[in-house]
């Protein structure tokens, strides 16, 4: 055990910090869930790519830097420290990218990975359907093989980034006689094809962070099938593993929130009861613990271990922590906690974060589903 950074790791941190200092936009970008903001964020993906910082954990052969998990954590720490823009291509870089590397053909890798890195393809997720949320195996959207293409009919919903994205990936039922997990295939679909209708869904903050996608006889070439026909569930589980695992929420963002919460509390301490102090300490303690745990897990993985159902533990922990921190901030803000315009205490930012923190326990598998996974797979409780 050696819980210190090496000289090389410190040097890497300096390199990241220097680059970010001269490249992160001075003014915050518009929200990525607006048309103009989306394009600003796409531009930022291009800037990142020019510095070769857009997909740092990808292997060098795919244009990445081949960073290990510890370096990735350092990169993330610097990224949040610099308050760099949200990654509009999170779905591509962290979810589809690694899945393509594992299951894609040579042609698929060369076609999609580079376009992902350059920001030319921004990806939306296409898992949920009106009748298939937590119960993803209830998917009914069909993709029927007709010669050299699949014909897709049905509807996806809660599709993150789909309002403005270029492509979506998801599961489709290719065997019409199949049930549940069988007969599903993982298909990549350009969102500009004839027969596709995208209907943005305004979220709690009023912006269309996700959308419904309607498919009406949409023809997708067979080359867009990832893995084998009928192997979709297996591939999707691998994707969900990447997401719930280390990559979805690195500790840095929660540490930053905890630090800001303490600062906010210290500025308004005389207006708060001691109950609030306990919450502020808890925010620090839990984000510190989350960080330690992720470094512990990353070290284990570097030593050849793997991450399985344990990732469900982390998803519950950070999503509850994030909500608690924002809830506490609103209590500190008192009556300012209804201001949605800019103010000196950044109330509007806290409120936006507060609303978003309600999404954490839902997306990437609800916390209730995660608890079932923990109980059944880690604690050995009966199904």
């Amino acid at each position: 055990m050696k819980i210190n950074f090496t000289n090389e790791q410190h040097a890497f941190r300096d390199e990241v910090r220097t680059w970010l200092a001269s490249n992160v936009p001075q003014r915050p970008l518009l929200s990525l869930d607006t048309k103009e903001g989306f394009e600003q964020h796409r531009q930022w993906e291009r800037t990142l790519n020019k510095g070769n910082w857009s997909m740092v954990t990808w292997p060098k052969e795919y244009g990445g830097r081949g960073l290990d998990l510890i370096q990735w954590l350092i990169f993330e720490e610097e990224y949040y420290r610099a308050e760099a823009p949200t990654r509009v291509n999170q779905n591509g870089v962290f979810l589809l990218g690694p899945t393509l590397m594992e299951f894609g053909t040579h042609e698929q890798k060369s076609k999609f990975l580079n376009a992902m890195a350059t920001g030319d393809h921004i990806w939306a997720q296409g898992w949920s359907e009106p009748g298939a949320g937590s119960d993803m195996a209830a998917i009914r959207t069909t993709a029927v093989l007709e010669g050299d293409h699949y014909k897709i009919n049905g509807q996806k919903t809660w599709s993150s980034r789909a309002s403005y994205a270029d492509w979506t990936f998801g599961l489709f039922r290719t065997d019409l006689n199949s049930e549940r997990h069988r007969g599903l295939s993982f298909i990549l679909v350009p969102l500009n094809l004839p027969g596709i209708t995208v209907r943005p869904i305004p979220q709690l903050d009023g912006e269309p962070g996700f959308a419904e996608i309607y498919f009406d006889d949409v023809e997708v070439p067979i080359e867009n099938l990832l893995g084998g026909d009928g192997e979709g569930w297996k591939i999707a589980m691998a994707t969900a593993g990447f997401e719930r695992g280390l990559m979805l929420r690195s500790p840095a963002r929660f540490q930053q929130t905890a630090a800001k919460l303490l600062k906010l509390y210290l500025a308004k301490q005389d207006q708060c009861s001691p109950m609030i102090q306990a919450k502020v300490v808890e925010a620090w303690a839990q984000s510190e613990s989350y960080t330690l745990s992720i470094y512990h897990t990353a070290s284990k993985m570097l030593a050849g271990g793997s991450i399985g159902s344990e990732s469900s533990l982390g998803k519950i922990f950070w999503s509850e922590l994030d909500h608690m921190m924002h809830q506490t901030a609103l209590k500190i803000l008192g009556a300012s906690a209804e201001l949605s315009q800019e103010s000196r205490d950044d109330a509007a930012k806290w409120i936006k974060g507060f609303m978003f923190s309600y999404a954490g326990p839902i997306y990437a598998g609800t916390n209730e589903i995660q608890k079932n996974i923990i109980a059944e797979r880690l604690l050995g409780l009966p199904r």
């Binding site: 720490e77 300490v281 079932n372």
Partner: protein, 345 residues
């Protein structure tokens, strides 16, 4: 950066786990309760022979020079087994403090100590009722300004009753002769407070894991409505919540132990953090484990309370969650300590 255990560390942990699984069963703990003699001298002797009691004494004092991380892993197992003998106290507090004690006191202890073979009890404002005085060779007593050593024969004591029958605690009525010294007191006092917090944290995480394991087995066996109750989501989710809290408390213990072994200036903060997280995890483990056991959990007959009682005591002693919260807040706000990214390591 390599936040994993060495093979040696895992071997020590496994060795003590296997010893305690055989030698520290719920049955043997209950026998101690009934005989009103929870300090089992045979088990103490075996732990001495295994090299556990003096494991973290330096090699020239008859020990193995074990570091705090390995020790914390072993103490976690002592918690898991509900070990009544004060082995965690002997190693984590007494052995570890020896180099810091004023020489007059450490000499007196060494004369009575037999290289860790005999127990030296300890009392401190954060844990004022010393354990097992009748089985000890003497007592280290911290008050507000100095540290004292009193040999067993030089004090008059009586047993007082603890809610955990595994913990025989005492009240000192009078002392005939003491060796005392204010030398190095501030450093010594913060060292013992930090170690007390970390020791109880490591015990608590083991205790919490034990309660979770007992509950997981119980809800798989107990049938209602024609099914094991563990198949109901309400029960699953209660236990999953405990698993989450344990998962994120553990690394805080290992980091705090590492900080002590490296003499990190932030080790007091790290120890307070460990206790804060572990006390919360254990508190939830107690509540949800008892609930998962239903009425059986509320009986004397079920073994769950052996571990629950110890957990309640360990939450209270050496600074409870509230005290640690205070330490953390003062540390984060008093110095130049900066929060957020870059300051964890």
């Amino acid at each position: 950066m390599n936040f994993i255990f060495t093979e040696d560390q895992i071997q020590f942990k496994d060795a003590i786990k296997s010893f305690l699984t055989d030698e520290c069963t719920p049955k043997s703990i209950r026998e101690g309760w009934e005989a009103k003699q929870s300090f089992n001298s045979d088990r103490w002797q075996s732990l001495l022979e295994l090299g556990v009691l003096n494991s973290n004494l330096p090699e020239d004092k008859g020990g193995l020079g074990m570091d705090q991380v390995t020790l914390a892993l072993m103490v976690e197992e002592m918690g898991y087994a509900g070990l009544p003998e004060p082995v965690a106290e002997q190693t984590f507090l007494i052995n570890d403090l020896m180099p810091l004690l004023p020489s007059s006191i450490s000499q007196a202890i060494e004369e009575n100590y037999d290289a860790g073979a005999k127990y030296i009890s300890i009392a401190h404002p954060l844990a004022p009722n010393p354990l097992f005085i009748n089985n000890s060779a003497g007592l280290i007593l911290f008050d507000s300004s100095e540290c004292k050593f009193i040999a067993k024969d030089d004090m008059d004591f009586e047993i007082i009753s603890s809610n955990d029958p595994s913990r025989e605690i005492f009240k000192i009525n009078s002392m005939k002769s003491t060796i005392s010294s204010p030398e190095n007191f501030e450093e010594l006092n913060s060292a013992v407070s930090a170690r007390g917090a970390l020791m109880t944290a490591a015990l608590l995480i083991g205790l919490a894991q034990k309660m979770l394991d007992l509950s997981s087995v119980y809800v798989g066996d107990r049938t209602q409505f024609g099914k094991p109750i563990g198949s109901f989501q309400a029960v699953k989710h209660m236990l999953a919540d405990v698993a989450v809290r344990i998962e994120f408390a553990k690394p805080a213990v290992y980091r705090a132990a590492y900080s002590l072994s490296e003499n990190n200036p932030k080790s007091a903060l790290h120890c307070a953090h460990a206790k804060f997280m572990c006390a919360q995890a254990a508190e939830l483990a107690c509540k949800n484990s008892l609930q998962a056991h239903g009425a059986m959990g509320y009986t004397w007959e079920m073994d769950l309370h052996i571990y629950m009682r110890k957990a309640w005591s360990m939450m209270a002693c050496w600074g409870n969650e509230d005290k640690q919260q205070d330490i953390i807040f003062k540390t984060l706000t008093s110095s130049s300590e900066e929060l957020g990214v870059l300051y964890t390591f």
